[in-house]
Chain length 267, copies 2
């Protein structure tokens, strides 16, 4: 824990004020750095318009976007299996989903189904990737090169969907300069800000022990990161304009617990 504490206080001292730090990555700079993706952003707007979006995306809940991810995973599987079209009912039956929910979730973003046909698998998959922002490579930093950080750095699913794990960051001297088994370099946490700017990082994943999660999040925000995925337990606070998502791995175990409990009371 000691290395984290001294490294964090050093880094905060060096980064003058948060406001100063943030000015390293002002809106125009950010947009300029996105030139390569501009074409695709414009395309998405056009598609969007032609699909009569019904609700501004700010009102789309995280539960909805989580479901869109699930639908995308299903469509990937269908596409790989050579399925060309599928109805919402077919999707629901095959993947134990809710057909009405599928239709409602997709309706936020346009009209994708064709009466009498259902959804074209490839097309809906392409739309979902676009809606989820997966049509460009997002650059990710993982803070914390412990077991969880190292596991996440080499997690095959991330790369597959277009996320690029650019670097790990840690405070322990014996880790800095090495790399994960998959070849992700481990940087000094003190260099988070310059590396974020140089490498144009989009997302920081926090995988440090709970007491260091908030200072690490503050540091990521100072460095100009706009989206944080937190695996450390406990609530974090980030300023408006920064999106925070916390992953609670307990949820998945609890769904099994539910099943076992029902099995018992029925058997």
């Amino acid at each position: 824990m000691a290395p984290w504490e001294s490294a964090l206080s050093d880094a905060v001292r060096r980064s003058s004020s948060a406001a100063d730090a943030r000015s390293h990555r002002t809106r125009p700079f950010y947009r300029a750095s996105r030139d390569a993706a501009q074409g695709r952003v414009v395309a998405w707007r056009l598609v969007n318009r032609s699909h009569k979006r019904k609700q501004p995306p700010e009102q789309v809940s995280e539960l909805t976007t989580n479901r869109l991810s699930v639908y995308l995973r299903c469509l990937n599987e269908l596409d790989a299996a050579g399925v060309q079209t599928i109805s919402s009912q077919g999707l629901a039956t095959r993947f134990h989903l809710n057909a009405a929910q599928i239709r409602k979730d997709l309706a936020y973003f346009g009209e994708f189904g064709v009466r009498g046909v259902g959804y074209y698998v490839k097309e809906l998959r392409r739309h979902l990737r676009k809606i989820l922002g997966l049509d460009r490579r997002l650059r990710v930093a993982i803070i914390g090169a412990g077991n969880l950080g190292l596991a996440l750095a080499d997690y095959p699913g991330f790369r597959q969907e277009g996320f690029e794990i650019v670097g790990l960051f840690d405070a322990a001297n014996e880790k800095i300069g090495h790399e994960s088994r998959g070849g992700v370099p481990i940087h000094d946490i003190k260099d988070l800000e310059p590396v974020t700017r140089r490498e144009r990082l989009d997302i920081a994943v926090i995988a440090v022990p709970a007491p260091h999660a908030q200072p690490v999040a503050d540091l990521a925000v100072s460095a100009g990161i706009k989206a944080i995925l937190n695996f450390s337990p406990g609530a974090l606070v980030v300023p408006e304009g920064v999106k925070l998502k916390s992953v609670d791995l307990t949820v998945s175990l609890e769904s099994l617990s539910f099943y076992l409990a029902q099995g018992d009371s029925h058997g």
Copy 2:
């Protein structure tokens, strides 16, 4: 990879047939081993009856149980903050959820709200823990003592909600006999079956490289495990009567990606 392969083929050979193995843990044995929890199971039935359950739990989707977990997390937070009652609308506003969805999800299990009052936080929390089967300790094995397995073994959230991580299992000689930083012992994967029986394990978490996930799942099923949480990428097949849940960590990154994409197209 080599240690996994030879260990798995050994273990499968030694476990005679899957049917034989399963008979080590027949229904009556399982129920007998649950004596301590019986009182609570009965209590839950009574509560349940008095709450007029509207749908058999088999029809409750995983998305619903995932949401119940989320509600439980919210109620934990409210309870810790000293909040005594809250309406579905209050819950929704405070935690960015959907009030109608909350009411619908809870209605599967009974009538928990009180007109003019809303939900009693402590009481609803207790009900949700019971519904999710968290009112007894569930015993968990983690298969794979790599970075992910070791991280999961010491993940603080599991213990907090009543899961007991009994052991890790691996095929690598240099790991067997050691333990995780948090003190979870690493067993030989070949001993999965006797340890499962002796320790009365409920859930197996799979955190091995993708090519070994299916043989490891088969082994867990042979050993009598009835619920599997899979972190390895790719689809697994388990026989009927065994509950499989796969965790895709990509989903959480995609929800951030969604946010960043919308931010860009709006800014």
